[in-house]
């Protein structure tokens, strides 16, 4: 019970902390709308990561307010009107910083926890 509970807390904290970087990384590839971002995170993480609307959209709005992404109305692949987001220059810099930070952080954790990849 304790392990499950602590595991949830750690997982949630990791998810929450990494959401911003994940969104920025996906937008680096191409402008995308919210639904698409959510689906891509889910697919590419092998369904390990799933973000609720209540997390994803507020994160997008916060990034937009901070000038890291830019929202605009456009047409999606299926021809329907969607609000899409694209990375700004500041967003690219922020993504680079976050990647570097993540790399440092995960390496440190791996060294201590002796995590090895098969």
């Amino acid at each position: 019970m304790y392990n499950t509970y602590m595991g949830d807390i750690v997982a949630n904290a990791l998810k929450k902390g990494s959401l911003e970087m994940l969104v920025l990384a996906l937008l680096e590839e191409a402008p995308r709308h919210g639904y698409e971002i959510g689906k891509l995170i889910e697919q590419r993480s092998g369904r390990t990561l799933r973000f609720h609307v209540a997390s994803l959209y507020p994160a997008l709005y916060a990034l937009e307010r901070r000038g890291l992404v830019e929202g605009h109305w456009g047409l999606a692949g299926n021809g329907r009107k969607r609000r899409c987001y694209r990375l700004t220059r500041a967003g690219r810099r922020a993504l680079a910083d976050q990647r570097s930070l993540w790399r440092t952080f995960s390496n440190a954790i791996n060294r201590i926890a002796k995590v090895s990849y098969a």
């Binding site: 709308h33 639904y35 994160a59």
Partner: protein
């Protein structure tokens, strides 16, 4: 397909954002839901279930709304608790309380609202009296000097002030009655009681009251104050025979008028306590003053006359003398009844009359004058019956007055407590939430506190109205009341119940304990709350520093 836009609007509720931005967000989330719905349908999920799945993406609408607005604004947002009273309503309630404060009666009710918790009873402090006396001496105000002379505990100083008052206005000579009756106040050997007795009796020669007071020292030299005794008490007879007491009492019983100066005293108090803020003076002086003759002495002398002196005269064949003695008692009883200030003085006076008429009836019967005897007996019976009925009626009225006043006092007491607590709550609300501009987050205990205190302004308004309604019938100014009896019957039951907690089942403990503990307990609770808040704040500061 379901109207998802409407569903999203309902789920989110109003967004405190610029309208265009709010619309944009609603539209974007609608598209999210629609996409989810289509995807579910594509997976072969039935339409109804697909709709439910699509909407479930939004999760808790309130949480979503909070996080969206917080993200948009870049700061935590104050979300009033769903149960909190709207801020506008709170301010309106406080404005109404402020408007109520413009009503003088309400201000007086508020001013009196804490008097029940004060260990000090309303009245006159010696210091106040000294101040009044100094003011009176400076301004040559006989009223102030007379008032201080009547109530000051220092009898010598009081007699000095009385001299000054009488010099300024000889109509205040009646104040000297205070110095004649020395049994019920601390005595001061420097005060010449005999001289004061002569002075007052000379100034008011037709009044029985100062003569009765002058006779009291002799009477109390034999009979302690309040001591009961048989009608044919040999001590009383010996007192009448061996001292001048009998002559003094006889003169008092023959005086054509009985006036214990109650109305004069009350008028004096009214003239001094003219403003509502000094109304407490009325309560003090409305009680039995020191110049009221001791009724025990009157009763014992009347018993001596009707039980010993009259029958002895009858046995000696001096029927006219016996009849004169009885008649004198009956007349004195009638005069005392006329001059009495209230029922509790009138009833014993009537008892004197009744016993004297009974003695006259017996005398007439013994002398064979049956018609006269029957007439006197009838008068005696009627007086007795009237006395019983009046006593019963008075007791009934008094009980009813005290019961209703007691209920009103209990209501006022609880309303006063509620006003106090609600006022504190309103201040807390104004500090925590009332002054918040726009939307700022108040989480945790502060949010809960803000929600709780939002009820305080409404409670303050309600409690204020109840307090005013309960107290207003009893907030008459001294000038509204013409007699001491009016004071005692109309407003005293309420105030005595209010101050003494007569409605309280723990009355005996009230004066000695609860009343004195109220403020200490309240202060302790306030310190506890403030201390807890301070500790919480320090803990947060420490935690923030550690992070």
């Amino acid at each position: 397909m379901r109207d998802f836009e409407a569903a999203v609007r309902r789920t989110l509720g109003p967004l405190p954002l610029p309208p265009e931005r709010a619309e944009e967000i609603i539209l974007e989330l609608t598209h999210q839901v629609e996409d989810g719905y289509r995807e579910a349908l594509a997976r072969g999920v039935p339409a109804a279930q697909a709709e439910a799945e699509a909407m479930a993406q939004l999760g808790d609408g309130e949480a979503l709304r909070r996080s969206i607005v917080t993200s948009e604004r870049g700061e935590k947002v104050w979300w009033p608790h769903p149960w909190a009273v709207p801020r506008a309503v709170c301010w309106m309630a406080l404005a109404m309380v402020a408007a109520l404060c413009l009503v003088p009666g309400f201000r007086r009710a508020l001013g009196e609202s804490t008097s029940a918790w004060s260990p000090d009873r309303p009245g006159l402090s010696q210091r106040t009296l000294e101040t009044l006396a100094a003011k009176g001496a400076k301004s040559h105000d006989a009223h102030l000097l007379a008032f201080a002379a009547l109530h000051l505990e220092d009898e010598f100083e009081a007699s000095r002030l009385a001299e000054q008052a009488i010099t300024l206005d000889p109509s205040f000579t009646w104040i000297g009655a205070r110095f004649i009756a020395g049994e019920r106040l601390p005595k001061d050997a420097r005060v010449d009681r005999v001289a004061w007795a002569r002075r007052v009796c000379a100034w008011d020669p037709e009044n029985a009251a100062p003569r009765l007071l002058a006779a009291e020292p002799l009477f109390h030299s034999v009979i302690p104050a309040g001591a009961q005794g048989p009608a044919d008490d040999p001590q009383i007879a010996r007192l009448a025979e061996t001292t001048s007491w009998g002559e003094q009492m006889q003169a008092a019983f023959r005086a054509p008028r009985y006036d214990a100066y109650g109305q004069r005293r009350f008028e004096l108090v009214r003239s001094v306590a003219g403003s509502p803020s000094r109304e407490a003076l009325v309560w003090y002086s409305a009680q039995l003053g020191p110049a009221v003759p001791d009724f025990l002495q009157v009763q014992r002398y009347a018993a001596l006359v009707t039980g010993k002196m009259g029958p002895e005269a009858e046995r000696a064949g001096r029927y006219e003398q016996a009849a004169g003695l009885y008649w004198n008692v009956a007349q004195f009883g009638a005069r005392m009844e006329d001059g009495a200030e209230w029922i509790w003085q009138r009833l014993p006076a009537r008892k004197l009359e009744q016993s004297a008429y009974a003695a006259l009836a017996a005398l007439a019967e013994r002398r064979g004058n049956s018609e006269e005897g029957a007439a006197f007996a009838l008068i005696s019976q009627r007086l007795d019956k009237a006395r019983s009925e009046a006593a019963y009626e008075q007791a009934r009225l008094l009980r009813a007055r005290w019961q209703s006043a007691g209920s009103a006092a209990a209501l006022a007491w609880f309303a006063a407590c509620a006003v106090l607590l609600a006022a504190l709550g309103s201040i807390a609300w104004a500090v925590v939430a009332g002054r918040q501009r726009g939307e700022r987050m108040l989480g945790g205990w502060r949010g809960t506190l803000a929600m709780g205190t939002s009820y305080a302004p409404g409670l303050l308004l309600g409690a204020s109205c109840v307090l005013y309604s309960a107290m207003s019938p009893y907030l008459g100014t001294p000038s509204d009341l013409l007699t001491r009896e009016a004071v005692f019957e109309e407003i005293a039951p309420f105030w005595f119940s209010y101050w003494r907690g007569a409605w309280n089942p723990m009355t005996s403990y009230w004066d000695s304990y609860a009343q004195h503990m109220f403020w200490p307990v309240l202060s302790s609770v306030a310190v506890l709350i403030l201390g807890t808040a301070l500790l919480r704040w320090m803990e947060r500061q420490r935690a923030a520093h550690v992070e």
